[in-house]
Symmetry: C2
Subunit: 666 residues, 2 copies
């Protein structure tokens, strides 16, 4: 490398460093340590090594970059700004301010070029594994000889915290098993975490650990050595059957007076230290948000390079489309997140009536998935080692692990990693991913569910064994508070279908809404309701199951398996001369979206109400009001056969009838 090139590199890297430092200083909050230490890595990736077109941040075949240590957000924002993404200098100056596109941690959908929301440690890593899975699957499905329409790398920058988190274990282990050769993780190995030197609590041999996962592990001794970093990345790209971890020994807060200590991790440097850092690195002390012309010109070379790469891809895709019109059309469709025309015709309905076979909603889910398998080829996912129980498997498709075109992913007992991967697959584009496990273990993956809701990715979280009705496994496996706890998450659509037909209708809605949702399905068999009624009602979130009732003495509101209980109770009440309307509420979220008029008609304030759900009661008071009764379970469950557990915990026809009678006072 020439001296001149070296100087230009350093100038460009320092421009990046000081945009970050100045942004944090202006905000008076943020994390300068990692941007100072990792700027050379970001520069190399964005400026030289990554395939990306700043003018088209959604180009499907771009290399992905995930900043798993999301607190280093200003490193990412500054890289995007200098690369020419639509993130003007004013935005860097509005870092962490209300309404800016530069929030404290990177947010998907908020900033062009930000691939996923990061900050909760480990999840960026996990989502990147999902992206690499999406890439591998789509490449296998769509690429043809000589036409690689999907062929990109996924890069991650992560810190100690990411690798301490359990999710890094879950997803790194699976990434090794899956042989994700195009996943390249750069580890900011700076020996410092928030509490101090990492040796306080973190002394594992990271190299050996990742080798045990079947990863290639490389080391770079000096985080400022551009040649060494580039060589390592080249070696990572050359290894196509294993993911690569590159340990880069950096100095946290490089150049600043407190470099190499935890003091420089999580707060603005302060005017004095900013000046000292600029002086140390030969930067004008009196300038802020300063980009020297030569640095700007150097960074600007990305634009034509990116444009050319993108144009070449466009040309190649045009040829592909001529040669393979069918997959090309399908590819364009899935990438633009459109469902296939008429796909909804494949949504099945189930026979109802007294003679009809009872169906557990988990089994109904399996029927739905397999009925739409062919028309929704972008549906892709699996379970956390519970396929036999959750029934979320495509019977006609292979295991992705064995044959990458297969749509069944065996995630292993890794709930959190699974759902983070689901989010990453969704953020990648081109696929609609799902993960599944027992409902009680939604707790294990809750941080990923929240992040999917926050990103509003089209992530489907499918849970089965939704109440104490699952029976003998007992309190550790019986969900109680899970429904309400998940319904409390903003932007997350809840689905708890009452029968097979509602399950089918909920699957349709989950696919149409293109945002994060969860489904809670029963282990036990349930009667099937009239398809016309349920398919018309479910899209309103709640609806009357007793359209024949015009004026009710009491309204019984239930969800899931308890709707059946409410219907039986209504029949008993009728025999006692009390007219009850039964409302099924498969989705709080969707019901809340309905018009005031619809709500007033369905649940008039003056009519007393009884709600019944085999779970925490907390959220029902809003719908039942003061003149009603809320029946649920606010204690832990009990190990017993399902029907006994339900009965003992008060989820019974008798209990509903008793409460309703008391309210009606007849």
């Amino acid at each position: 490398m020439s001296n001149q090139q070296n100087e230009l590199d350093q100038l460009s890297i320092n421009a990046l460093r000081f945009l970050a430092v100045d942004g944090i200083e202006k905000a008076k909050s943020g994390h300068p340590g990692a941007p100072l230490g990792c700027a050379p890595i970001a520069y190399l990736l964005y400026h030289k090594l990554m395939k990306h077109d700043p003018a088209a941040p959604k180009w499907i075949d771009r290399d992905r970059f995930v900043l798993s240590n999301g607190h280093a957000s200003m490193l990412l924002y500054s890289s995007l700004h200098l690369s020419g993404y639509n993130l003007p200098m004013e935005q860097l100056q509005q870092f962490r301010q209300y309404g800016s596109h530069t929030p404290g941690h990177p947010e998907y959908g908020e900033t062009p070029g930000v691939e996923v929301t990061t900050g909760p440690l480990g999840q960026g890593f996990g989502m990147a594994v999902g992206m690499a899975v999406a890439e591998k699957h789509m490449a296998e499905v769509y690429n043809r000889d000589g036409h690689a329409v999907i062929d990109h790398h996924t890069y991650v920058l992560c810190g100690d915290g990411d690798l301490m988190e359990g999710i890094s274990h879950e997803t790194a282990s699976l990434a090794g098993t899956l042989g994700l050769g195009k996943l390249i993780v750069l580890y900011d190995d700076n020996l410092i975490s928030l509490d101090g030197p990492t040796e306080l609590s973190y002394t594992e041999d990271v190299t050996r650990r990742f080798e045990s996962y079947n990863w290639q592990v490389l080391s770079v001794a000096d985080g400022n050595d551009l040649v060494a970093i580039e060589d390592a990345i080249k070696a990572a790209k050359a290894e196509t059957t294993r993911p690569t971890l590159i340990r880069v020994r950096t100095v946290i807060g490089f150049g600043s007076p407190k470099a190499g200590t935890n003091k420089v991790h999580g707060e603005a440097l302060g005017a004095e230290a900013v000046a000292a850092t600029k002086k140390n690195l030969g930067w004008p002390e009196d300038k802020s948000f300063y980009v020297p012309d030569e640095a700007r010109a150097n960074w600007d070379t990305i634009k034509p390079r990116g444009k050319a790469a993108h144009a070449a891809w466009d040309a190649s895709f045009a040829e592909y489309k001529t040669a393979y019109p069918a997959p090309a059309t399908e590819f364009e469709r899935v990438v633009s997140a459109k469902m296939a025309d008429g796909w909804e015709k494949s949504i099945p309905s189930f026979p109802s009536g007294a003679e009809a076979k009872k169906v557990a909603t988990r089994n109904a889910g399996q029927v739905v998935m397999n009925a739409i398998e062919k028309v929704v080829p972008e549906l892709f996912g699996g379970a956390a080692d519970l396929t036999a129980s959750t029934k979320t498997i495509f019977k006609d498709s292979a295991s992705f692990h064995v044959k990458p075109h297969g749509r069944n992913v065996f995630f292993g007992v890794r709930e959190f990693g699974m759902m983070a991967m689901v989010n990453g697959i969704a953020a990648h584009g081109g696929l609609i991913p799902f993960g599944s496990t027992f409902f009680v273990f939604s707790d294990y993956c809750r941080p990923a569910i929240r992040l999917g809701a926050l990103m509003s990715t089209h992530s489907l979280y499918v849970f089965t064994h939704d109440t104490v009705g699952l029976g003998e496994d007992g309190p550790t496996h019986q969900p109680i508070e899970h429904l309400m706890s998940l319904r409390a998450i903003p932007n997350l659509t809840d689905f708890r279908p009452a029968d097979a037909n509602e399950t089918s209708a909920c699957w349709k809605l989950a696919l149409e809404r293109k945002s994060a949702s969860f489904m809670a399905l029963s282990r036990q068999d349930l009667p099937v309701f009239d398809a016309a009624l349920t398919f018309a009602g479910t899209p309103k979130g709640a609806y009357s199951m007793t359209p024949e009732v015009t004026k009710a003495d009491v309204i019984l509101i239930g969800a899931g398996s308890e709707v059946t209980t409410c219907l039986t109770a209504a029949a008993e009440l009728k025999a006692a001369g009390i007219t009850a309307k039964v409302v099924s509420m498969p989705s709080f979220k969707i019901y809340d979206e309905q018009s005031a008029a619809y709500k007033a008609e369905l649940l008039p304030a003056e009519t007393p109400k009884v709600s019944l759900e085999a779970g925490a009661t907390m959220g029902w008071y809003k719908y039942v009001g003061s003149n009603g009764a809320v029946i649920g379970i606010d204690r832990f469950g009990a190990s017993a056969p399902g029907p006994i557990a339900m009965e003992k915990l008060g989820i019974s026809v008798a209990n509903v009838v008793e409460h309703a009678k008391k309210l009606v006072k007849k």
Copy 2:
């Protein structure tokens, strides 16, 4: 080993196997695979190697055994029964039935000899690490030359699922760093998980992985080779500075027709296969719940051995007590979970009034912890690499890692592992443990919080940065639904103090209640309220902050930092001629425990109410009723300085005043 001894061993092991098989068969549900495969391990531990006294299951210096693969519960119950614990045969015959002491998964407090509740995979492993930490700390604190009052091992049996879970990474890595030489994990390495062969999703090199954590790893090629297993356990005990993992290659469902496959994992064998298994292993096919006399006599030898070991310890403790009366008395006190006499006098109060310094409740928490440090020496814990932010540190104590008598544990960025360890430390006895992190990351450790609540261990979960008031870190770090989601967990006490004095009062309650609780503390400074008022009111869960108000036009209910907002709103309303009573509600759970009379007086049905909390509104409707207004945040937060985020999201005096006026219609 003599042939005779070998035959007796096999008979005793098969007795164990078939009690498990018969229990599962009678229940028509359960997991026979692991009991059949692992019976030799359980036999060796319970019958020969562990120090335990079946007549005294709570003897503090017993070896601990944790069945991390809790679905193998019948293996544990059968071992306890045969060892002579108070678990009669009728209980084995009531496996998985309502009201029995043999629930589907082992439950702490339900069955003598069950050390912790397991089933949610990985958590048993994590809790065992906590137990080994407790042992090491207590040994350092209490043992004296020649007097080892705490000197026991912690054994774990775990399966593939446990090791796939991220928590196994978090806690194994930390166990290695901490050098927990008395932790011995037996890994049921049977190559089968629920979905099929583990190679489907799990191909990591477990030996290399655990070596990377600084563990000793040993292998046993045949899970039926008692000599090899015993030799490995002896080698594990000989290694005192590293934990040991023993990989035992077992055959899942050993002896049954479907041995070695996933078909034998999770359901009863069925009559035919039970018979075939009995035949294969030379067991009378026509007998169930059968224990041959020789086997019974052999198992019974545990009782005198256990009694003798316990008596020896008692004698040794008596000598210790003579030689070291002070620590002995303290030891007896902490082991019996009694607080020191007069400890509560050290609970601090903070000056209030307009002139008084504002205090963030996280800082108040630090003051409380350090004020009671000396009088509550059993308080022990730390943070997940956020000590500087959560302030949960004993200033006068060392790091446990560096000096095991130190009471500050640096858990690293391992929230889930931390809280599982907290539960394990609590279950060990002798200590009151706490863990802490940002409130938003309560999601990461939620499965452990649930398990602590289920076990009702004295586990303290301390969270700070409790609302969007934390500011610039933005939506990824701003809790919204977390308060309600945790309040929905049964048996878990919620604490969200409004000021420094409530924080102090909440800490007192958290220590007195001896069950699982969480605290949500503010990042930002808050005014301090009158100590007499808050200390009197907090134990009721909710109380009036305006005792001078006897007849209110409207009631403003707030929690945490929003109580201050309510008080300011009340002052504005007063100026407008409206009398508002302000209620502070630091604990939903404790308020719910109060008498109906107290509730009717504090929150009369007829008075309109406005609730204010900077979080999900879901749970407030219960207290506000239909004639009120619920103000909260049902969307994700926003990256901005704290006061701006609060204001923009509607948590403001003006908003409360507006709603109150509307309700009062003045």
